[in-house]
């Protein structure tokens, strides 16, 4: 086809876009409609290469396809979706034909395009609506429906989509907001808030919902944005979002606007909505509205069903609770006629529900005030509560039951009292238990009151909270009640309280005080003197703290026994022994002195017979003296009055002295000394000597057939040891530990007894103990015994170098 001059007006008049290019793509013709369709003016494109247009309206690939066809002598036609100069997508139906010269050479292409965008969109819309109906009808779930809606709209119809509904309170609530790019939802939300008032999507939605009419903003230019956006940030967001076009369509169901769906396009798709789009969107919105409404109704129905089920379950549970309750639950009307009677009531009262229902409530409480029901009703009507009211009921068998009753009003929907429910619990067992407990408490009280020991209980503040009569009497009150009424300070201040040795105790040192501090001590002996009378009393006190779970002292129990009588007896005994030994020693002193005078006299006369008798006498007097001394020592040890008088002395000298003193008392034995202990010791010289004398006299006594006694002495840096060895009877292993007991006496094989009180070794061991020393024995029966004693060499004795210490004189 050849283009002639006269063709021109025709071409311009055609309502189709006509574009002619040569084989290189250089545009040679671009009619008016082409200007309209593609956006470029004839002037802009004439002489330019068609492939240089941006955005491209023809790709090289498509051009090759077209040329191939045309070369074959065929024509080409097809649909293209391209962008026009403004970037808007358009659909075109193109028919391409070849232009040939007179010789029939292929020299150019004529391209005639129809705008089929609307038709394409209609198609798309129909397709979409079909799909949408299918999708929206696929679920009754509200959330799913919403999701489906959004998925349908974005990105097919819009770049973002917002669905808003009217809440129950009339406010607009956004149900969903979706965007092709999830990360832009944030901006979309912000934009909704900050968009200029007249363009504000929010206010537009509001308006749409109010009027029920759709709104279309086909093209929003940046100019409008600049003008109308007061806020820089909002403007920035707006520009960032690149808003192009907005449609807001009401969601109408049964002539009632339920909300709105907003379609928004941005530079993502560059799509511009027109009134066809609006029509389609309205069509879509209708379907969406129904789908949403259906979903909403479905949800509501679901919720109602659920709630009803819940309520039913609750009622069932309640009924089960009432039925299974151990308590007797009875309902009655305001006249007292029983309407319900649970299993608990059946059990408690013995009547079946069918026997009880319809009877007057008072049939189970004939013993009570017959007007009790009226009284209860009256109280309830006044709004008062009746809880845990203890009363009695009579069961079917006629037995009286103790019950605790709680009575509550039964109200209807209008809060009017229409009946009364009564919950009764059997407390007969509880009462019985309480009575038993009381009984056992009473028994305990009787026991506590009748024991001879005084018992008091103090609370943590030291206040007396319990006392028995014995305690009251010991403390000087006629009975426990008067004692409990007295002030604790007053009670304590009546006495001077001392320990066993007479040392005054202040309040903090008292056993009861210590117990309150949580200290548990063994029993202690306490002496107390009544201040006004001077009367002396003694008690053994045992104070015990009682702790709670958190280890706090909750009270202290004091048990005290009066030992005044015993102490007085002991004191009298001590005094007696002291006086007796003194009284015994006084004549002994005379006898001894006269015997010795007589001995001197006969020695002057050289009367050997008399001297022999006198020597025996002197020995016996000595023995008698020792016995009396031993008795006195034991009584002192027992009374805790055995006092040491320690001094520093030379140990060897003491041993030599004692050997010299004892040697003359035996004719059969020679006392040999082996080793030496030339050290200073700090000890009671008289008492240590007493131990040695005791061991030596024992050695003599229990080795009658032997002729030797050996005294071994040795020292280490820490102690000095003495061993007294005899070659006599010995002690069997089973009796070795017994020899140190008080009053123990060794028996010979033939049961011949040895003289003595059996006190010597006991006293000796006590003396050693008081010196922190030791006394022990090694023995072979029949071969003899060795008694050892050792004394510590104390720092004190090491420090003293001066041996010329003042010592006492021995008898």
């Amino acid at each position: 086809m050849k283009i002639n001059e006269y063709h021109s007006p025709l071409i311009e008049a055609i309502q189709q876009a006509v574009v002619i290019t040569d084989l290189n793509g250089i545009i040679t013709l671009w009619n008016e409609y082409a200007e309209k369709l593609y956006g470029w003016t004839t002037q802009e494109v004439l002489g330019k290469n068609i492939f240089d247009l941006n955005p491209p309206i023809l790709t090289v690939k498509d051009a090759k396809k077209i040329v191939t066809k045309l070369t074959k002598g065929e024509s080409f036609s097809g649909e293209f979706n391209i962008q026009n100069k403004t970037g808007e997508y358009i659909y075109i139906y193109v028919t391409d034909s070849a232009i040939k010269d007179e010789k029939g050479n292929f020299i150019g292409i004529v391209c005639i395009a129809n705008d089929i965008t609307e038709r394409k969109k209609q198609d798309e819309m129909l397709q979409f609506l079909t799909h949408a109906s299918k999708q929206l009808g696929s679920s009754l779930e509200y959330e799913t429906t919403l999701k489906n809606l959004s998925n349908l709209v974005v990105p097919t119809l819009a770049d973002w989509c917002s669905i808003d509904v009217i809440d129950e309170d009339g406010s607009i609530k956004q149900l969903s907001l979706s965007h092709i790019h999830a990360n832009k939802i944030k901006f979309a939300k912000e934009l909704r808030k900050n968009y200029p008032a007249d363009l504000s999507i929010d206010s537009n939605i509001e308006r749409v919902i109010k009027t029920g009419k759709s709104k279309l903003y086909s093209r929003i230019s940046e100019k409008i944005l600049d003008k109308t956006t007061p806020n820089k940030d909002a403007l920035q967001v707006s520009k960032h979002m690149g808003l192009i076009s907005i449609m807001i369509i009401p969601l109408i169901v049964r002539n009632k606007t339920r909300g709105a769906i907003s379609f928004i396009t941005t530079k993502e798709s560059n799509r511009v909505y027109n009134k066809h789009d609006l029509q389609m969107a309205e069509e879509f919105a209708r379907r969406a509205a129904f789908a949403l409404e259906n979903a909403r109704l479905y949800r509501k129905a679901q919720l109602e069903i659920k709630e009803r089920k819940k309520a039913e379950e609750k009622i069932k549970q309640l009924a089960a609770m009432v039925e299974s309750s151990q308590d007797a639950i009875i309902g009655c009307d305001l006249h007292g006629i029983i309407t319900t009677w649970n299993l608990g009531a059946e059990k408690l009262y013995g009547y079946k529900a069918k026997e009880a229902v319809g009877k007057h409530i008072s049939f189970i409480n004939p013993h009570d005030d017959p007007k009790q029901f009226e009284t209860f009703t009256q109280k309830l009507l006044q709004g008062k509560q009746i809880e845990h009211y203890q009363t009695t009921r009579v069961n079917k068998k006629g037995h009286i039951i103790d019950v605790s009753v709680t009575v509550s009003p039964v109200k209807d929907d209008h809060n009017t009292i229409i009946g009364i429910s009564s919950i009764a619990r059997n407390i007969s067992d509880h009462k019985k238990l309480e009575e038993e407990l009381q009984e056992s408490r009473d028994q305990l009280e009787v026991i506590l009151q009748n024991v001879t020991d005084g018992i008091t209980v103090l609370d943590p503040t030291g206040k007396l909270i319990f006392a028995n009569d014995a305690a009251a009497k010991l403390i000087g009150f006629p009975n426990a009640i008067q004692l409990l009424e007295a002030n604790t300070t007053y009670i304590i201040d009546r006495f001077d309280i001392m320990d066993e040795h007479g040392q005054l105790l202040d309040r903090k040192q008292l056993p009861s005080y210590k117990a309150l501090q949580g200290e548990e001590e063994p029993e202690v002996i306490v002496k107390y003197i009544v201040k006004n009378t001077g009367e002396e009393m003694w008690s053994i006190i045992k104070s015990t703290p009682v702790f709670d779970e958190d280890n706090n002292v909750i009270f202290a129990i004091n048990v005290f026994r009066d030992i005044t009588e015993q102490k007085m007896r002991e004191k009298r005994k001590d005094e007696f022994i002291s006086i007796a030994s003194h009284e015994l020693k006084t004549p002994l002193t005379s006898i001894k002195a006269f015997t010795q005078l007589l001995d001197r006299y006969f020695k002057q006369k050289d009367d050997k017979q008399a001297i022999a008798y006198l020597t025996r006498m002197i020995g016996q007097v000595e023995r008698l003296t020792n016995l009396v001394d031993d008795l006195l020592d034991v009584s002192k040890i027992q009374a805790g009055k055995f006092i040491l008088n320690e001094e520093v002395f030379n140990f060897d000298e003491m041993i030599n002295d004692m050997i010299n003193e004892i040697q003359p008392t035996t004719d059969d034995h020679t006392i040999l000394k082996k080793g030496s202990a030339d050290v200073l010791v700090f000890a009671d010289k008289y008492r240590v000597a007493q131990v040695l004398i005791n061991l030596l006299t024992n050695a003599i006594k229990y080795s009658p057939k032997a002729d030797q006694i050996i005294v071994h002495t040795s020292t280490t840096p820490d102690e000095v040891t003495v061993a007294v060895q005899d070659f006599g009877l010995g002690i069997s292993a089973d009796k070795q530990h017994k020899v140190f007991e008080r009053f123990y006496r060794v028996e010979g094989k033939k049961r011949d007894s040895y003289p003595g009180l059996g006190l010597g070794l006991y006293i000796s061991q006590q003396i050693m103990k008081r010196h922190n020393g030791k006394l022990w024995v090694e023995s072979d029966e029949g071969k003899g015994s060795t008694f050892y004693f050792s004394l510590p060499i104390t720092l004190r004795s090491r420090l003293v170098h001066d041996t010329s210490t003042q010592g006492g004189t021995y008898e």
Binding site: H582, T586, T589, I591, K592, A593, T625, L632, I643, T809
Partner: protein
């Protein structure tokens, strides 16, 4: 007995204070035989009377004198200017006597019953024979 010593002791005067006549008697015999002048005193009243008249060279004092205790008398004499120079020896039947000696400010003690040698020895210790005075 050694006669020379007896001579030397004649001028020394010893008071024995005890409530037991038996002890007073035997002690007096022993010490007189040893050559001392001895006065036996059996109660505090007599002691006080004697103190008005003269003073002894040594006192033997029983610790448990009835009425007033020996240590008290000793303490009194030892704290009095007139009598504090007189040696006092306590006598006791008790085995624990040392403490009392200190309390009483006494010079020494002797346990009852005693050996007559020991009595002589302790008295001699405090009454050294003064030949020059003889």
């Amino acid at each position: 007995m050694i006669p020379q010593l007896k001579e030397g002791h004649m001028n020394k005067h010893i008071w024995i204070i005890d409530d037991d006549p038996g002890i007073l008697e035997v002690t007096q015999i022993i010490l007189e035989e040893a050559g001392y002048q001895v006065t036996a005193i059996n109660n505090e009243e007599v002691l006080n009377e004697k103190l008005q008249e003269t003073l002894p060279d040594l006192i033997l004092l029983d610790i448990l004198l009835s009425g007033i205790e020996g240590p008290e008398i000793s303490h009194r004499l030892k704290t009095s200017v007139q009598t504090q120079h007189i040696p006092i020896i306590l006598m006791s039947a008790n085995t624990s006597i040392e403490e009392k000696v200190q309390e009483a400010l006494a010079d020494d003690y002797i346990r009852k019953p005693f050996d007559i040698d020991v009595l002589e020895k302790i008295v001699k210790k405090y009454l050294k024979p003064t030949i020059t005075n003889n």
